[in-house]
Symmetry: D2
Subunit: 356 residues, 4 copies
């Protein structure tokens, strides 16, 4: 059995780069040799034991690589092709997928839907922080990288850009809308870029970290607000003349969720991207008592090869440049150190790239 090196979850606060068996592509599967991947905030939750996964799992879900093996039934690809694979790997053939809800892919389940079922890498199957990665449903998930585009340009499309943009897309941003984005971490910065990309006439970025607020302007915010320095809800209402059309939540806390709702005009849309824990409260007054025509939409990172293709086109044609978000790069062997830096948010880190 061939072996490879991979970042393995060995217990709470215990990840280790180990030798594990190199995967072999079965029917409809592929194996790619990882050339670039990253660490995601979700990985931190896993390492800290806040999101449970099985012991021994290889974590990570943002893979760029080169096709190493193609299983039977995968057509139109060749070993050696450079590919991006989304964090979410829909099967394309279940009830959820055929309904266009790829992230809740029910591959194999009786009902055809599985909550978060499209998220498999580093969750229910081995992930991308490794030398090699088994890609399930490869036909639906291998997205060829256009010539002239670097790994660094596309690696963040796998998760945070797809997620961040979807915050704007699920809210159906229209030309002329005002959009406020609460939290300017990696996903919030991409939501800011997404709102701008879709034609929002005013984008407001909110955070408490001035470095991130500065990046927010670079990603497309017209105005940034530091919530530690002012009453941001009042300021947003003033700037927008009554409330934003859309508020995007990009953190996953009661406070940001509630501030989003309070920042909206009547009939506005709250687009939520954060992962919440415990009970979430909807403040009655900011919700028009239920009859304010408010919408709350939530979105898990859209995946699949067509999503990746579209996002790579936006990068290739210069619509958005995500490379400034990659503030640090580590080798796979030093990934534990990278987790520390990222987890402690040292050195103005935004995203850490990992090179196996």
């Amino acid at each position: 059995m061939e072996m490879m090196r991979a970042n393995v979850f060995c217990g709470v606060d215990d990840i280790q780069v180990r030798e594990v068996p190199k995967p072999v592509a079965g029917i409809g599967e592929a194996v790619i040799r990882i050339t670039l991947t990253t660490i995601c905030g979700t990985d931190l939750h896993i390492v800290r034991g806040e999101y449970p996964v099985r012991l021994g799992l290889v974590i990570g879900h943002e893979p760029v690589g080169i096709i190493d093996q193609l299983g039977p039934g995968v057509l139109g690809y060749a070993v050696g092709d450079r590919v991006l694979v989304g964090a979410i790997t829909p099967c394309g053939q279940c009830r959820a997928c055929l309904s266009g809800q790829l992230s809740q892919c029910g591959h194999g389940s009786e009902s055809g839907y599985e909550a978060l079922g499209g998220w498999r890498f580093g969750n229910t199957i081995n992930g991308a922080q490794a030398e090699y990665l088994l890609v399930p449903n490869a036909q639906a998930n291998l997205a060829k990288i256009p010539g002239g585009v670097t790994d660094e340009q596309v690696v963040l499309l796998a998760d945070i850009a797809s997620t961040g943009f979807s915050g704007a897309e699920s809210a159906c941003v229209k030309v002329g809308d005002t959009v406020v984005v609460f939290a300017q971490g990696p996903i919030g910065l991409c939501a800011t870029a997404g709102a701008r990309l879709m034609g929002a006439s005013l984008v407001i970025g909110v955070d408490s970290d001035n470095n991130r607020l500065s990046m927010s302007k670079n990603m497309g915010a017209d105005i940034t607000l530091n919530f530690q320095e002012q009453d941001v809800v009042a300021e947003i209402k003033k700037i927008t003349g009554g409330g934003a059309d859309i508020a995007i939540e990009a953190l996953g806390t009661q406070e940001t969720f509630e501030n989003c709702l309070r920042s909206l005009r009547p009939g506005g849309t709250l687009s939520s991207l954060g992962v919440y824990s415990g009970k979430l409260q909807v403040p009655y007054d900011a919700f028009g008592a239920g009859i304010g025509d408010y919408k709350i939409v939530t979105t898990l990172c859209p995946g699949g090869k067509e999503r990746m293709r579209r996002l790579m086109e936006t990068v290739k044609n210069g619509r958005v440049d995500l490379t400034p978000l990659i503030t640090h790069t580590y080798s796979l062997d030093n990934i534990v150190e990278a987790y520390h830096l990222f987890g402690e948010r040292r050195d103005n880190v935004v995203k850490v790239a990992i090179k196996p």
Copy 2:
């Protein structure tokens, strides 16, 4: 000054039929002589002091009548025309209205949006439980009643049917969807009818009142469930093979809201019609921790003459018959007695009609 009789809010638990000045139509306004109106659950909230309105206000917001006066600038109508007017009377000319959000009409406001601003009758201006009613923005709100259609057939379109149907419409019911409706009061019954009307392949009505569950079947439910007799969430999951596509909340309580969410498949839509008081909690587990692709949409009764025209067409052509919901009829002079019956839910009352 001409006088008329009207049901006046004189304080908490104190309504009285009194002589008040008959209204006069100003620019863009009309006065109609009420021929039929009803009592709404919202009126009970007002009388009980749970929803504050000014002392002296005439309450009620479901008017059918005959045009008595037309103010300057109202074109295409004649005194004597029979009309239905929606509970919500959008101006058609503010930012909210021109954006298609008629219920949050901002007539006169600086921002062009006003929370619940389209609801004026019996809220911010005199209402319909009277001999005569002043209709603001008459051009946008007087809907002529087609020949051969009775007052009884259309009066419930003004509010509860428009609201109930909108529960299905805002959820974008598609052909083949499964829809569960929590609570089978007047609005829930109309939501049931609306889901059926839009092509849901399975409609499940939930309540604890067997009389209402029986009406639910008449309005279009395929299956009814009594939540006092079984674990309805478990039953819905079983019947639907994993959860409903859409759940409509038609009561306004934490319990029904939460049960709606728990009844959904991943990626489902909760369409909320109820009026909530106090904090509303979103159970983290039933919400996919925020990344289950759930949508929560809320809707205030759609109004305006075009909405009323469309609904009257559905009634005229036999798509739905709302008259069985009118279980009792009282004269305006006996309206206080009618409020008691309705408030105490005596005698299997569903809706009470009032004839001035």
Copy 3:
């Protein structure tokens, strides 16, 4: 090599029931034993040489059957399962499918889109008028038939009902819309049912065959018009007070297309289902010179197992009964005779079922 009997295209106006090799399921494929199928208008075009297919092809694309073989990689099914397969068999994994445009499935093509690419049965691969049928992309296309539902109830869902309903769906019929359907053949009758199912308040069926107009009423039309007996466009404008919201074209001729457009109110939607030959003209005057806010939408039969599941639910719960459309039944061995009856529209034939 095992053999089976099948209806083979042997040249223009020459179909023959012959012995051909029984298919064998490869990776991702299945073979079903056909228990019921039908003849479609498109098959007539093929036989007449109006739509070219290769010599030796087994024709037919409306299969109901029992799983006989399951190829490697097809999960969640068992030999013996009763299944319905749509006429369109999307792969679920190409660019078109992952974009929700299943009918233009680009399985295998470089661009990921192929015009009409989802239609393979009896077009680019062997079809359903046979004892056995090879189903490609079986995971995405085998729809289990619910217990208690007969073959006759579901066979027409594979094509004509899916197509007919989609005429209403693509037009986004809303509650209260008026819809006119030009031509009441099998697809037009299903479009009529679809418009009714989605909440149209008035459905008008147009044809010249009084038998079909009578069926039109049974399928949901409120009013039927015989275009040989009156000026239907003028009549529709009169009935609707200025034009229908939506007109569905279900034949594929210049005349019906043009009449659809002329029957619309300004800003209305023409939903076209017909297959046209030669140039199609858009009359300038009926099109608002291009600035009348008209929409023209076209739809190829939606397929895939989720589509079939949804349609079977509508049938199972009594929303629509398609069995009256099956006016005749023949054995596979007598299929040539059935083609003659169907092609000559003898004996008030609507659809002919074929039992292998």
Copy 4:
């Protein structure tokens, strides 16, 4: 009676600046003093007799000005306010407007819809090439100009930018779409900007005038193609790998319409903005014989004050700069000369501004 100077249609090829009565604001109306207006391609059609209007009509429909009079019933404005008014002036209160189809406004008509009914200025009532302009339905149409924004920045929003952007909006451009725009006149240039603004990942501008192709790049095209120098359809198919997602027609000829259709991938959308004359042909082969899932959408310039407000926000925040399109400026008294320049497309003219 007060008089004013205005550009009057006196017959085919005969416009004259004359003294005509200054308008007086009635109920719901306003009069504005024009500070800037322009000449539109449609005005050329009128002058040439290709689009009939009554003799004596003041033409022009792109007004920026200052409120001079406010009729009874118009609230929230003051004499002296700077306003932009859209070319289309919906009433907000008819069936079409309340259905969101403002351009087909049926103010006063029995059916509530009137083809092109929202276009009144310089068509059915006096227009903007004058010292003063009567604005009907002023409450729905007076859009206050934000401070710091010049007349030149907003005047093109009244028609060509609203129209051009709507070409992208009606086609529902999504992030990552490829969009081709046929013809790069004023409207095509704005459609190019609109496609870019909505997140198209690739925008291709097509024309035969190299000056306009150069402007096309400035307005957002990634690639421009000169149809006199190459087979643009073939080139578009090559660049896009099979066809564009969306093609916008911005001229109104058979050739551009047909090329749009031929440039699309299966299932693509043709968004048509041009005004056609005579019969328009849909080529059967490029239309998938009617079953290629193509959509053809047409749009008349969206108007109303909310549309203008949104567009002014996009200009104010630097999303788009339209001032380069104003290549020439004339006084009202010299407007006949301006028509000659514009009509003959001399001196690389794109748009001509008129200052009364």
